[in-house]
Amino acid sequence: MTYIAKPKLHHPSLPKNERGYTRRDYEGAVSTLCAGCGHDSISAAIVQACFNANIEPHRVAKLSGIGCSSKAPTYFLGGSHGFNTVHGRMPSVLTGANLANRELMYLGISGDGDSASIGIGQFVHSIRRGVNMVYIVMNNGVYGLTKGQFSATADKGSQSKKGITNADSPVDLVMLALQLGATFVARSFSGDKEQLVPIIEAAFQHKGSAFIDVVSPCVAFNNHTGSTKSYDFVREHNDAVNRIDIVPHAEAETVQYEAGALQDVLQSDGSVLRLRKRHLDYDVHDPIKVMTYLHKHQALGELVTGLLYVHPAPEDLHAHLNTCDKPLNQLGERELVPGQGALAKINASLR
């Protein structure tokens, strides 16, 4: 693989967002993933979401582990600092980065091997700590880079390309994230941009641990009959509980909506997520009901997608630690070093 930069030239009349960036400003290098890979669609959705949300590219830090998914950050947000860490260990590096500078936005990109197998511990603990981040798993149920082994999210009974049947139960990262106290949990499908883009946009606005599981078919090794993570299977079994519109705060009070069909979710940054409910009884604020719903539909062989759970007043790791508002990496001697006077007192107490 070589690094292929996209040409910087673009049409001068491309539309700009409020920050003055065009969509191209959110792109990265040319993808070297297989043509048709679901991950490329997710990258495109991230580009679109960041453009829509008026995010300054350089204020995002994008981190990943190892694997096909973890290559993806090269293909979007070229103006952001990126960090390809080691297999399964992105969450700890992201946590440390977040501690150092709470003002940046942290985007963690991972895969099902990276997060559900080798890295499940770090996934669990970063969510449990409430690190303010958007954590996206590009979930294809298979190890692509090593040519087609099952991952820990592969469904029991599903088949590999070589015809082997998976005998192990799957790890459901969404259920796990809910149980661990993630304050924003969503699942989507790489082939459903209409659903995915606003979910990512909303996750960026969320001031806590936002987890998005995106089923992302692997065209090389897991897009065949017998797979439960193929394009066809997901399209046929997708049960979308809602669709999101992002409503700027100023308009929120003036919009009328039909009771029961819509649910407004006020975000801590002042914006409103307007959920167009497909299932009228679905409540994104009740984690127990959400889990029951997910279990019920999982048993029916359906893949529940949409914004599944959101906490209206999330806290993050910095709130738990009560760290100062100024980023820790900007503190200087004056704020950090007690000086010789204090040391002399310490010396005196040690005799």
Partner: protein, 630 residues
């Protein structure tokens, strides 16, 4: 016939206790009271990897000459643990003293006839005075301190002052403690002829302005003064108290008293892997970050350390070494993680190691490590060990220059990027192998790059091109060469300076916690007309002066506390030296090395007759897991 030791301000006393019996504070009280009388002491905890019920020892060396290394043997054993009675008894030097609780009758065949026996019915006295079982247990310890104060001539005023300081704010506890102290003291004065005891403490002025502190606390203070803001760690003996102390000092110095907001973040990670990951994330993002761990933690961190080396991210790792390999001897000391730290990771790596000799240098080097990590953009290891880390040690007072500024290394700023400076993340602009970096979020359109553990070119672009890879690896070697000038330089002590000798062809290289034993061994060797020059290594990479030292001597002993001569082999490899020239002195039973061991080993290898020590003590060796035997 029993001989009698006659030693003033120069003896070893050892307390054999049961873990969890509350003896630690009484033992420390004893040591500190002698220190307050102006006589240097060096106490050592010898304890099991266990919480309660197992044997534990506290060994106090009293040395007016100022020798702080472990001497070996003991002149008085305070035998409070029936479980270890037999071994404890054996350890007492001939003519020495056994102090025991005579409430229980000890039969003659359980004693030795070449030592003096001091029996005090501690349990009986306690039971007569207190009814509460916990008080009976705790005050037994204070009582033996009282007895010892009478036997050894320790000034009670000093002990009472220490008790007053200890119970400041909890004044209720002071009277019963004083009562126990005097109960023991009065018993000794009334029932025994204390003047006949040959071990005495006499007021002196040999402590000066030195302080009494554990290496782990000093290292934590070094991290505070060095400006560390992020600490991520996972509990492991013997490093845990580094973070406990860091937390304590952060509460005091880094917390806004009005808002409670903190100028630091401490995360107890889920494991050592995550802790170093967080340190790397914070370092990448421009905060000063460290972790504290021990050998098994280093094993787990190795993958990430390789990433930090290759991706060039600052990280400070405090490794308080213990006995290895694997779980090894969790509560015993060694210097056996040199290989695993110096070359941590798959592939070719070399990491910077700093070797403090005492708490003072733990403080200095912890702050220096944070600077070096930023300056060199690489992991830096502070290599302490249990002996320095968890024992209270007398050392020079800590000092901070208030004009000192943090060395943040080569950071490209937004203004420099805006001015059009050429930014290549791995570009060797200055020829020292150290490139410039940008913090994430620096500039809207310039200076962003991708950090990765895979190979890349000078502009941080992924490349598997062989030439590009070699170019990068060669630059990393140049950077390591630059480190030689930045790390603490070795310190030489030449025999001719202190002994008037006309130069010697024998050199000794040592490092870290071996230092006090080596200083004592140096004096002993000179007294025996064996002249050596010393070189105390303080860092890896080895500065050129180390190899000059080797070249100037025909034989060089390398003293270290591991089985395989790790430092010796690193010297051979890094300096392309003739291995035959470097003679190993290896001590690795988990106890701190002694001057005696060094002297004997050097004499033996020089084919000299075994030394007669200045005071005739048996050579002691601790056999791991079997306690102490003569």
């Amino acid at each position: 016939m029993t001989t009698t030791l006659n030693r003033c301000n120069d003896f070893v006393i050892k307390f054999a206790n049961v873990n969890g019996s509350g003896s630690a504070s009484a033992n420390e009280l004893f040591a500190r009271s002698i220190l307050r009388m102006g006589v240097p002491v060096s106490p050592r905890n010898i304890f099991p990897s266990n919480i309660q019920g197992m044997p534990t020892w506290y060994e106090v060396r009293v040395s007016e000459a100022g020798y702080l290394g472990r001497r070996g043997g003991c002149d008085m054993m305070v035998a409070m643990n029936p479980q270890t009675w037999t071994e404890d008894l054996k350890e007492i030097v001939s003519g020495g003293y056994l102090f025991y609780d005579s409430t229980r009758v000890i039969h003659a065949d359980q004693l030795r006839d070449d030592i003096h026996i001091i029996g005090v019915p501690l349990t009986q006295l306690c039971n007569e005075t207190w009814s509460d079982p916990r008080q009976r247990q705790l005050f037994k310890n204070i009582m033996y301190v009282g007895v010892l104060s009478a036997l050894l001539d320790i000034d009670t005023a000093e002990i009472e002052q220490l008790l007053a300081e200890q119970y400041k704010g909890k004044e209720k506890l002071l009277p019963p403690n004083k009562q126990a102290l005097h109960l023991g003291r009065d018993y000794a004065l009334q029932q025994m002829d204390c003047s006949k005891i040959g071990l005495k403490v006499k007021r002196a002025d040999k402590v000066g302005d030195r302080i009494f502190i554990e290496g782990n606390s000093a290292a934590a203070l070094g991290c505070i003064y060095g400006g560390a803001t992020v600490c991520a760690w996972y509990p492991i003996t013997p490093s845990t108290s580094v973070v406990d102390a860091f937390q304590k000092y952060c509460n005091k110095f880094r917390t806004d008293p009005d808002t409670g907001k903190k100028h630091y973040a401490i995360i107890q990670a889920e494991d050592e892997i995550a802790s170093i990951g967080m340190v790397i994330g914070a370092g990448w993002n421009g905060a000063r970050a460290f972790t504290a761990t021990s050998g098994p933690g280093i094993s787990l961190m190795t993958e990430f350390i390789g990433l930090a080396y290759f991706a060039e991210i600052p990280a400070t790792i405090i490794n308080v070494q213990r006995g290895g390999p694997s779980t090894g001897m969790p509560t015993r000391t060694q210097q056996a993680d040199l290989y695993s730290c110096a070359y941590a990771s798959n592939g070719d790596t070399k990491h910077v190691l700093l070797f403090p000799e005492d708490p003072k240098e733990c403080f200095d080097f912890a702050a220096a490590a944070l600077d070096l990590a930023d300056q060199l953009q690489t992991p830096v290891f502070l290599m302490t060990d249990l002996d320095i880390g968890m024992n209270t040690r007398l050392c020079a007072p800590l000092h901070w220059d208030d004009t000192r500024q943090m060395q943040r290394g080569k950071i490209m700023t937004a203004a420099e990027l805006e001015a059009g400076k050429n930014f290549g993340r791995y570009l060797d602009v200055d020829g020292d192998g150290v490139p410039y970096r940008t913090y994430p979020g620096t500039h809207p359109s310039k200076g962003a790059f991708f950090t990765r553990g895979t190979t890349k070119d000078r502009y941080a672009r992924y490349s598997e091109n062989g030439e590009v890879y070699v170019d990068n690896m060669e630059r990393l070697l140049r950077k390591f060469d630059t480190a030689k000038k930045l790390v603490p330089q070795p310190i030489e002590t030449l025999c001719c300076e202190s002994a008037g000798a006309s130069g010697t062809s024998i050199g000794v290289i040592y490092f870290g916690s071996t230092s006090p034993a080596m200083q004592e061994a140096f004096d002993q060797l000179q007294a025996q007309q064996v002249f050596v020059d010393l070189l105390r290594l303080r860092a890896f990479p080895f500065p050129d002066s180390v190899f000059d030292f080797v070249a100037r001597h025909s034989k060089v002993f390398v003293v270290e506390q591991n089985r395989d001569g790790q430092l010796r082999n690193m010297l051979v490899n890094e300096g392309n030296l003739n291995p035959a020239k470097l003679l190993p002195v290896l001590h690795y039973d988990g106890t701190p090395i002694t001057a005696r061991f060094i002297v004997d080993s050097i004499r033996k290898q020089l084919q000299l007759a075994p030394a007669l020590p200045s005071h005739e003590l048996p050579i002691t060796q601790v056999v791991a897991g079997k306690g102490v035997k003569s």
